[in-house]
Every structure is written in structure tokens, then in C-alpha cells.
Amino acid sequence: MPPNTRIPRRTFLKAVAVTAGTAGIATALPTGSAAASGGSTGSTEDLAEEHAGDRGLLIDLTRCVGCGRCVDACKAENELPWREDQPARGPDAVLASANWSVVRSEGRVGADGEPRYVKTQCMHCLDPACASACFVKALHKQDNGIVAYDPTICVGCRYCLMACPFSAPSFDWDATFGRVTKCDLCDERAERGEPTACSEACPTGAITFGSRGELLEEAHRRIAERPDRYVDHVYGEREVGGTSILYVSDVPFEELGFATGLPTEPLPSYTWEISQLIPPTAAGLGLTLIALYARRRQVLRAHEASEAGATEMEART
């Protein structure tokens, strides 16, 4: 909304300087920080190498009998209530505010006509979409590989829920000030150098705890030893750039309710491709506008001058 005033030339020049300066800072900022955050632009191989020492789990679906001890242990470790509206076991088991880890049973899908059980929790991606989506860094990937959450700075926008391809984060809808909830790979136990509660509780050896690099080797070793038994796919090796939770199975993953068809590039890299265009676009746009405005001012000046001349002529006659 324009005022009916004229702008002094000096103000205009200052405007040019300020806009150009801001654009410059904006350009410098995210570029520098991108290098610091790493990951976002790295290839899957680089990511795997970088995160070989990360805390992880290998879940062997051929060994799971669906006893649910891991769920009990998780609930006890994290002091989570059992809620009737949030089944943690059975066919309807679903990750929710009180369910950080569940065991879902999948009908009689095996070649043997037996059901299969899928332990599900946060996948702890190597380059997590949720952390990249979080605009206050309430979610971030720790050095030990855990995707951790800090409720004290979380704004509660739930963009992380939208971004996660595995639907892992949940929101505590019932609270007045709900928080995001998900598996933290037993962060407190990690500080004491202990494995996760779920892997410790597993009686059949279906959950192996270790570093991601070792677990990946172990997964490939099992597949190579029994190629007749296992599907030749380590789920989590390449999905969205790789995850710290890995699965091997004798039933194709798409039949077990896994998110399949995911890209092998980390999801944040898609956003990044666009985001890095923003600073130059803003700077270019700002400069274009300044140029347009300057040109327009000249036209208006000329117009005003000729009008003033005309008025003078009238006055003389």
C-alpha cells in the first residue's frame, strides 16, 4: 500500500544495499551449514561407511515366534502404559504414543502356512527425514546413530509424522501439550554401554544388537549361508539411504506390510535440491525488483518533469 510520498534517492540506495547484503548472508548461511550437517548430499555407500559404527539392530523374521517379550521389555524400560486402544501385539498392532515397539502378526504368509511376526519400531535412518523436517532441531541424529527427540524445544507441528516414510513417530494426542513419541534405541542404556531392552529380552535370537556395519555383514552372511531360505534383500540396507535397523526374512517384504518401493536416496536430499535454490533465487529476485523499481522511478521522474513543464506553460499563457 503506497503512501503518497516520494522517496529520497539516499533511502533508495540504502534499500539496495540492505537487500543485497541480506541476500548475500542468506546465500552463505545454508551452504556453510549443509557441509556441517553432512549426509544430505552423500551417496548410500558413503552413508553406510560413515555410519558403520552406529548403534543398530538386526531383526531376523525367520526366528521370531511372536512371543512379545520385546514389547514387554520396551514398555517396562520406557515406563509406557498398556492401552486397549493401542494394541501392541497381534494383527492390529500399531506404533503409537504408548507403543514404541510392537510385534505385528501377518496372517499365514509363509511357505509353511505359518504366520510371520514383524517387530516394528523407529528405523533410525542414516539420514532421517524427520530430523531434516524438524524446524527447531528437536529431532536429531546423534553421533551414536540414535535419532533422538527433545520435547523441551519441540513446537508440536508434526511435520516429522508427515515426513517419515515408515510412519514411526507418533503424537501424544491426549495431552494438552502433546509430544512426539518414538523408539530412542534405549538412549539411556546406550550411555551405560548396554544393548537395547528389546534385544536383551528376545528368547529366540531374532533381535541381534550391534554396530550397523557388523550387523550388515551378519545379515549378508545369513543370506549367503541359506540362500534357499532367505529372501535376497536386507531391508534397511538401501531404503531411503539406509537405516540402523535391518531386517532379513524368508517371506518377501511387500507381503509383510513393509513400506516397499522407497527410493534409495535419502529423502532429505530431495528437499535439499530445492532448498539450495532458494538463496540465489531470493537474491536474484531482490536485485531484479531493485532494477525494475529504479527504472520505473526514472520513467516517473521524466513524466513528472514533463507535467510540471506543461503546468508552467499553462501558467504563462
Binding site: 545454508p30 532441531k137 511435520y159 494438552t176 502433546g178 532448498s275 516517473l300
Partner: protein
């Protein structure tokens, strides 16, 4: 500035805000909305809304944020066209467009704030920069642009209620940077609303997921500007008993029509390049809604805008404007709801009554705010304001039964009886009399 070529004036000479039945209803809806907001703030999102883990975003994100920001795009596009591209004839409607935009953004901030589960942390992004998140860009740009628009409004405010000298001095010095930032920021966040969904590649239907989402959102926000200004002009002209400026509007929508053609080419080209164009004819709910969005919401209004004979007829002009606006709203809904449906694990989402009450309440408050400002601040041109004055001042009064003392009783026209029904009929007659200005 050549702003001097257009003189603005408030509709009312003295401060005031009359009431009609419509405005009373809006007030009631607004009050209901405030109640619903209080309820949501006290009891939390779970009780107040039907959102869930599979549908973390719903009505408020669709309407109050995505659609609200797009429809408020008439402000920055008009500023760009008038002040930077030098199309002086649109200066006519600049202030009205900017006012709609300002109120729109204030509502967006309100709606966005309510959607935050932990809103007391809303200041955190200022110190904890999640710069890699599109949401961060959105937060900075939307709040920054809202402040810019408030500053822009101060120039208008000053014409009605003179500001302290120091404020005026500052305002006169920062005018150009404010104007420039006020165009750059919307460009960024209009596209950011599209980028927001790029990371949801694992969940969004490929019919909508595209790396070009930010471009689609940007271009559609730009062309919906003129369409929204058209709709808004028709509505307010009707309410204020003046003729909508068909010449100005038809010029604007012609430009919109050209942009929409480009948009169509981009959308179809994108589907073709990604090899899923055949899916458009698969007959699923998704494909049908996509067709509805693109054909009825873009192609048809684009045609109405591009053909000279239709865009100069008030009926077709208004129809085209309304279709383009609805098309953008449907386009946003398709991204928020239709494209997410398959990845929601069978869960459904229907907005709760509280969610509806909040959205309807915010819209009502916005309309009332617009009416108040237009009547009391120099938004319309002098001629438009004069045309509206007699009409609005006569009409915007409490409905007869609620009116303490009919203020037009003193007018020359004698009223046959004091019965309310007659009174209202008398009012109608006054309204139909030619404007005295």
C-alpha cells in the same frame, strides 16, 4: 511515487460499524470460533480434533494454512504488477487486495498457531535454526511477511489517524525496502508450501508428488491472486452497492489466464515426463479428483479468462474467478488429503465440529475485520467510496427489531408504521434509491 494519481477515502466520514443480519451471523460464528479455540487450547488436539497418527495434518493445514496463504496471494501479485511492472491502472484495487492479504495472513498465523501441539515453544525457531527444514523457511517468511504487511498498512493507517512524527520519519525511510521484501518473501514461502510435501515422497501419491511441487504452488498462488481479487471485488461491490471495476478486473484475469495456460502445460508435462500420464484415465478416486482439479479448476477458468467476450461479461468473469479459486482450494486439498489417503493405513479423517467451528470462526472474523477497515480507512478510491457511502451507511444498521432508534427516521421519507417488518421494507426502499454521492 505516483500514488498521488489515485486518491483513497474511507466509506464512512466518522468512525462506525453498522450491523446487518449477515454481520450478526458472522459475529455469532466468530464468537463460536473463539469458544472452540479456547476449548482446543485447554483440552489439547486429541479431544478437539479428529487428527491422528495417520492423519497428522487436517482441515486447519489445508484451509487455514495452504489455501489461506494461496488465496491471500492477491496482495503480493498486485504490488508486483503495480509498483514494479508499472501497470498503474491496477493501483485502483491495490489497497483492497493488500488488505485482503494482510487479514488472510493474520488468520494463517492464528490457524497455524492453533495447530501447534506445543505452541508455547513457537518462539524456539528463532534461536534453534532448523534451516534444513522447509518449515523453517515457511516460518521465517510467513511471519516476516506478516510484519511487512502490518508496516505497509501503517501508511494507510497514518492517513486516517496520524502517527507520531518519529514513526512517520522511519516509515518514509523504509518504504522501498519494505516494498521489495514484501514481494521476495511471498515468492519464497508460496513455493515453500509446495516444497513442504516433497519430503513426503514415501507417502504422497505420485500423481501429485513431484519435484516441481514448489513451482506448481508458486504459479497457482500467483494466478489465483487476480481470481481472488475478482471474487472479492464482486462480493464487496455487491455488499457496498457499487459496480465492480470490470475493466480493471478483466485486464488482470487475462494475465491470470496466460499464467494458467503455462501452469497446465507444466502439470501435464510433468505427469508425462514421469510416465504416469496414463494413470489419469485409470478411473480411481485419485485420478478423478485430479481431473476435476485440472480441468474444472484450471482449464475452464483459463478459457473464460482468455476469451475476450467472456471475461468482459460480469457473470462469466465472476464464474471464472470463483472456479479458479475453488480449483486452487481443491488442488491443495488433493495434496493434503487425496494424495495421502493410500498411505494412511486405512485410517480415515473427517474434521471434528471443533475444527470446523475454528475455521468458520476465523473466516467470519476475517470478513468482519475487512468490512470494518474498508468502512473506516482509506482503502477504496474516492469515487468508489463515495458510491458506497450512502448505501453502506443506510444499510449497515442493526436489523429493525434490534435497533435502538432508527437513525434514518429523520430522513425526508416518512415511514408508514413503526412495525419492524414495515421498517425493513422501508430500508429496502432506501437501499434501492440512487446513491446521492
Amino acid at each position: 511515487m505516483s500514488g498521488g494519481s489515485v486518491q483513497h477515502a474511507p466509506i464512512r466520514g466518522r468512525w462506525g460499524f453498522g450491523f446487518t443480519w449477515v454481520r450478526l451471523v458472522l459475529f455469532a460464528l466468530g464468537a463460536l470460533g473463539v469458544l472452540a479455540i479456547t476449548y482446543r487450547l485447554i483440552f489439547g488436539l486429541g479431544v478437539a480434533t479428529n487428527l491422528n497418527d495417520d492423519w497428522p495434518w487436517g482441515l486447519w493445514v489445508w484451509w487455514d494454512v495452504l489455501t489461506g496463504v494461496a488465496l491471500a496471494g492477491g496482495g503480493y501479485s498486485t504490488v508486483l504488477v503495480v509498483n514494479f511492472l508499472g501497470r498503474e491502472r491496477y493501483r485502483h484495487i491495490e489497497r483492497a487486495a493488500c488488505l485482503t492479504s494482510l487479514i488472510g495472513y493474520l488468520l494463517v498465523c492464528g490457524g497455524l498457531g492453533l495447530d501447534l501441539g506445543r505452541w508455547f515453544n513457537a518462539w524456539r525457531p528463532l534461536v534453534s535454526w532448523g534451516y534444513h527444514s522447509v518449515m523453517f523457511e515457511l516460518f521465517i517468511c510467513v511471519s516476516g511477511y506478516t510484519i511487512v504487511q502490518v508496516i505497509e498498512f501503517l501508511y494507510v493507517f497514518d492517513e486516517r489517524l496520524p502517527l507520531p512524527r518519529i514513526v512517520r520519519t522511519v516509515l518514509s525511510k523504509i518504504y522501498v525496502p519494505v516494498l521489495i521484501v514484501g514481494v521476495v518473501l511471498p515468492f519464497l514461502h508460496q513455493s515453500a508450501l509446495g516444497s513442504l510435501y516433497v519430503i513426503a515422497k514415501g507417502r504422497l501419491d505420485p500423481l501429485w508428488w513431484s519435484m516441481l511441487l514448489p513451482l506448481f504452488f508458486l504459479v497457482s498462488s500467483f494466478y489465483v491472486g487476480p481470481a481472488m481479487v475478482t471474487v472479492e471485488n464482486f462480493l464487496s461491490a455487491h455488499a457496498q452497492g457499487r459496480r465492480p471495476p470490470i475493466d480493471v478486473l478483466s485486464g488482470m484475469v487475462r494475465f491470470a489466464g496466460k499464467l494458467m495456460t503455462w501452469y497446465l502445460v507444466l502439470r501435464v508435462g510433468d505427469l508425462a515426463v514421469r510416465g504416469i500420464l496414463p494413470r489419469v484415465w485409470e478411473g480411481s478416486v485419485q485420478s478423478q479428483l485430479l481431473l476435476l482439479e485440472v480441468v474444472v479448476g484450471v482449464a475452464v477458468p483459463a478459457a473464460l479468462f482468455l476469451v475476450r467476450s467472456t471475461r468482459r461479461q460480469p457473470f462469466w468473469l465472476a464464474t471464472g474467478g470463483a472456479l479458479a479459486v475453488l480449483g486452487v482450494a481443491l488442488g491443495r486439498a488433493n495434496v493434503v488429503f487425496t494424495a495421502m489417503a493410500d498411505s494412511a493405513h486405512g485410517a480415515t479423517y473427517v474434521p471434528s465440529l471443533v475444527e470446523l467451528a475454528v475455521t468458520v470462526g476465523l473466516i467470519s472474523i476475517g470478513i468482519l475485520a475487512y468490512l470494518f477497515v474498508v468502512e473506516n480507512f482509506p482503502i477504496l478510491t474516492k469515487e468508489e467510496a463515495a458510491e458506497a457511502t450512502s448505501h453502506v451507511v443506510e444499510r449497515t444498521m442493526l436489523p429493525a427489531p434490534l435497533r435502538p432508534r432508527p437513525s434514518y427516521a429523520a430522513s425526508a421519507r416518512p415511514r408508514p408504521a413503526a412495525r419492524p417488518s414495515r421498517g425493513r421494507r422501508a430500508e429496502v426502499r432506501v437501499r434501492r434509491s440512487p446513491p446521492s454521492g
